[in-house]
């Protein structure tokens, strides 16, 4: 039994989507994504001078008639896709509760996984956390494996601090094939930290997409005015300050600047970027926002 948002209607809508890649990868098997290799698909790629042994079916007889030279037509090879979905499982993803932040994030991951699985491609889930450096699923293929994806996501509770770049580096050590990488996180970390992480992914020649997940409480903190001792959910560090309308406005300005910085970096690095506030509808995000940023074909 699949959890609430994964209704038959939702799944059938997901089946109509297909991940879009901006890079060509060397796939393992025949698929629907173009490869830099020449192959046997229907998509024309180039001409080459005939050499003995070439299949005569690919001779372009029109050119031979005009130029009395023999050329064979070359076609693109279409291969399957390997998708890697990285989900932030640090303690900050459990704020204000796992149900309100980590669960929506895992639902997005599961929905993207189903899109990949429905196209007979491969998907692998990675959970990023301090004690979860090696928490990665095997490759799944076939739409029935969506239950395995969901069970894998549900098997882990977010906890601990996260240093994005080192943890990602650990996960990338096991990566053998390039493909599509989707990173789901709240990105409440210093800019150098997430930039290093994303550059690592870029270094592995992955086509990257980033989904930032925030809760409404993070966008508009519900503190009443007065002195506050704020405790970091990951590091347990404390900071004391006076909270009032001015502080609230200042916080929101800084959050907007932070998000803008992420968006700008992603844009410069050729990374798809989108933000999801968890009190919004998942359907709207998956079927309207993500296609709009070009994540789906």
């Amino acid at each position: 039994m699949l959890p609430a948002p994964f209704t038959p209607q939702f799944l059938s809508q997901l089946e109509t989507l297909r991940l879009r890649t901006r890079k060509e990868f060397l796939g393992g098997q025949t698929g629907t994504y173009s490869s830099p290799r020449r192959g046997t698909s229907l998509e024309f790629a180039d001409y080459r001078r005939y050499s003995p042994g070439d299949d005569l079916r690919y001779l372009d007889w029109g050119i031979y008639a005009r130029s009395d030279r023999l050329y064979v037509k070359l076609f693109r090879e279409e291969v399957d896709l390997f998708a890697y979905i990285f989900v932030d499982a640090s303690a900050s993803m459990a704020f204000p509760s796992p149900k309100e932040k980590f669960l929506p994030a895992s639902h997005i991951a599961a929905a993207l996984s189903y899109v990949v699985l429905a196209n007979h491609d491969h998907v692998k889930l990675h959970l990023l956390g301090s004690s979860l450096t090696q928490a990665a699923s095997p490759f799944y293929r076939g739409r029935r494996r969506i239950t395995d994806c969901i069970q894998f996501m549900a098997s882990i509770s977010p906890a601990g601090p996260l240093e994005l770049a080192p943890v990602l580096a650990e996960h990338l050590k096991t990566l053998r094939r390039p493909g599509k990488a989707i990173l789901i996180s709240d990105f409440l970390m210093p800019a150098p930290s997430y930039q290093q992480g994303l550059n690592l992914l870029r270094g592995f020649n992955l086509d990257i997409a980033v989904i930032q997940v925030l809760t409404r409480q993070e966008v508009d903190p519900p503190f009443s005015n007065g002195g506050l001792n704020i405790v970091d959910s990951e590091t347990h560090a404390e900071v004391r300050f006076q909270w009032d309308a001015g502080a609230r406005q200042e916080y929101q300005t800084r959050l907007a600047q932070h998000n803008s910085q992420i968006r700008s970096f992603c844009h410069q690095s050729g990374i798809h970027y989108s933000i999801y506030i968890t009190d919004l509808e998942l359907d709207d995000f998956v079927f309207a926002t993500l296609p709009a940023i070009g994540l789906f074909k």
Binding site: S97, P222, G227, N229, I230, S233, R240, L255
Partner: protein, 604 residues
Amino acid sequence: MEFLNPTALYGLLALPLLLIPYLVRRKPRRVIFSSLLLFTEPALRAGGKPMGRPHLPPIFFLQLLLLAVLILALGEPVFSVRTSHIAVVLDNSASMQALEDQQTRFALAREKALGLFADLGATGKVDLYLTVPRLEKVRGTNLGPAEAAGILGALEPADLPDAPIDYQSILGQLAKEQKYDRVFLISDHPASGQGDILRVVTVGQPRENFAISSFNIAHSSLVGSGLEATIEVANFSTKDARIRVALRGSGGVIANRELSVAAGKTARATFTGFPAHPYYQAEIDLRDPLPLDNRRFAVPPAAQNFRILGISPRPQALTSLRAITGVTLDLITPQEYEKTERSGYGLEIFHYSTPPVAPANPALFVLPPDNNPLAELAPPVSRPVISSWREPHPLTRYVNFALLRPAFSRPLKPRIAGETILESPGGPLAFAAERGGVRQLVLGFDIFPYLGRENLPVSVFTLNLLDWFFHGSGVKGRATGEPLTFGSAAQQGNFLLTPREDKIRLNPGSNSFPSTYFQGIYQLHRGTQRELFAVNFNSQSESDLRQPTPIELRDLSRGGNQVSGLFSIWPYLLLLSMLLFLLEWFVNPRRLSHRLPAGVTRGA
């Protein structure tokens, strides 16, 4: 500007309490958040120092203003517009004689009244009223302040309890009819709900007091010649006290005793074997706020013999009573009753008869006729059994009711409130009542003739009831305010000497004197004869100075064309406070609908 409810202004003292929430808020609350990334910027860090100047936002001053305006509104501020014609009602009841730091409450009230006159100005008009014996105006109307002050100096409190006055309606009616701008009641009672026209000025504070609550002189028994004095002392304080009680005869002390009286209780002292005097005085030796109730007067019974008037269609049955020592019996038929002079009788025995009107003397009704107003009589029963009797009771002591078997009885169904003394299976056979302080006993069986030792149970019961009537018929002191009634009408030259030595000539034919406003001995002079009456101040509610009953007043709504003496501004202040509240609400909205997330903990 003045305040109708100045007590509310004490609320201003509580205004600094508003600082508390702001000071408490300075102690930071601990909350968990996903990340401190956006909180660590220097611009957001503030209030890090545990001590320092309190951070008071502008909303604090708005809230302060709101509360101050609200408290001022609760104080019911009014502006005096015009006070040219006022009424001053002075409480002159006995409790106004209580001392407050060497001055009586009445003297304090007089000073307050003079203050009111001074505020009035030279052109103002005053009407003076006193509350007891009834609310009535003193002398002329529309007095000038100087004239009213002169009259005020001659007024003094009476030895009377508070008159039962509904101040709200009476003073309200007075204000409307006489068109007073304001009516001031100066009393020792606190008041609530004062309006802009009716105002109460309270003088005095709650006090602890002691009083003689009862003083009685009677013959010690039916056959004895000695007198017995009973003095009851009440303690209206919160602590036990030892009080010396003295009995005086014609001025000199003839006996005294020390009594221990528990807080809030009474104690009684009995004196016997003292010489005869024309009148007696009981005193307690104390310095308490109200000296008036520290003494009482009593006059001994005029004659030793117990005088009985027998009224019977068969008078010979009652003649047997003459066999009892100390009893003087006069017998008449029911037809002669109206024409007979009945004063001086300690008991009237109605044998198979009833009077046309209730008798003024104590009365015994033996088998009254069917149409009597006292009890309905059931069908006759022969030799009834006494199934129950009230015990202990002076009427039933020493009686063996197993042997008391009247030959004939008619059970009673009382028509008046009383106490059943004897009961048979068929209903009550004797019940006692007290009407206007006079004892009455109704019997459903005949106790006559008195057979002495030949029928001991009935004889003992007869002696009991005579003794009961005898003790109930002692010369009772009258309370101040009650009229004195004389045995016979006054004649030319008769006069009454009051305790204040005022000589009052009585109109020929008059048989009462109503103006007993002062405690003491009143002397009725009929030529060479002199009759004494003891009149005592007798009001426990006045003597108890601890918790005077508050006077409930409401505001008066006057006619549209009449201008109130006061202009109320509190409704406008209330409106202003509501506007400030709305402003405060919008400026500082409460997030009532915002559900706090589970991860956020409030407070440390």
